[in-house]
Symmetry: C2
DNA sequence: AGCAAAAATGCAATAATGTTGCAAATTTTA
DNA sequence: TAAAATTTGCAACATTATTGCATTTTTGCT
């Protein structure tokens, strides 16, 4: 069965052209995507607003998560594995290349334990490393 | 001697009302600040543009650094210790409280070592943890 | 398949955020 | 203190994000 349909149905979402196309984009792309990337790639076939709303919906359902960045851009990436809404969306490290500017999910680099001071409750941990990626060095 | 003047002079910056006021704000505040926070706290005594440019200058000089966040906001925090422009700006963990929405620099929580795959060169590492802070629990 | 209800989309308007050029004001340098 | 250099504020503009509502599409049911 189609993977796209599967994901959408599993999350009780109506199956629409926009959602299929955007979800497909995430499945195909290796790294993280910015809103702008998505608009470009979908070739202006959807309204900006639809893209915003679709991304928002996907985040709420836990299909994608957003990645912290140092500039003011929002990056989205697929939640691989068994990622549930409201849970840790992420247990891998993100890498931002200073040269090509791409964000890469380092799927196999686990986030280390961090001990917080007394009184702090830990929910989600994001690790973002910048430097030069293996392509650009 | 005045700490503000000292910092500005050391970085070869003209001493102006705006820079003094904004720098003072950073010295006084325990956590990180967003652009909006600064505009509010300075009581609209400066133009938006001035705030933007001042922050930009401070980042370039390595007086402050920006912190990655999951939403689309940029947070700035003072570089404590001996922080040079173009270097690691940061060796501590940042905490964002889901309740009060404040960002806190956990000065005494060191960033753990992360081993990257072959070919990746590490420059700066940011760790952002969200959850509930000690005030809000 | 066909129909009603529910959900999603597109459009328009609006808000929020960030940038640029340039003249006036302030700060530095000598 | 005067000239040079820097910074500021204003205005205009660009980009990015949000909201309401009518129209279209999708779903669930018979």
């Amino acid at each position: 069965m189609d993977q796209l349909l599967d994901i959408l149905k599993r999350n009780q979402l109506s199956v629409t052209e926009g959602r299929k196309k955007i979800l497909e984009l995430f499945l195909k792309s290796p790294g993280a995507l910015a809103h702008a990337d998505i608009e470009k790639s979908t070739d202006a076939s959807f309204d900006r607003v639809t893209v915003y709303r679709t991304l928002q919906t996907f985040v709420e359902k836990g299909i994608i998560h957003n990645i912290p960045t140092t500039d003011n851009s929002i990056l989205y990436a697929l939640c691989r594995d068994n990622c549930e809404a409201g849970h840790h969306h992420d247990n891998h490290v993100h890498f931002i290349c200073d040269v090509c500017d791409k964000t890469i999910c380092l799927e196999h680099v686990a986030i280390p334990e961090v001990k917080l001071p007394k009184g702090f409750k830990q929910n989600q941990t994001d690790v973002v490393i910048s430097g030069v990626c293996s392509e650009c060095r």
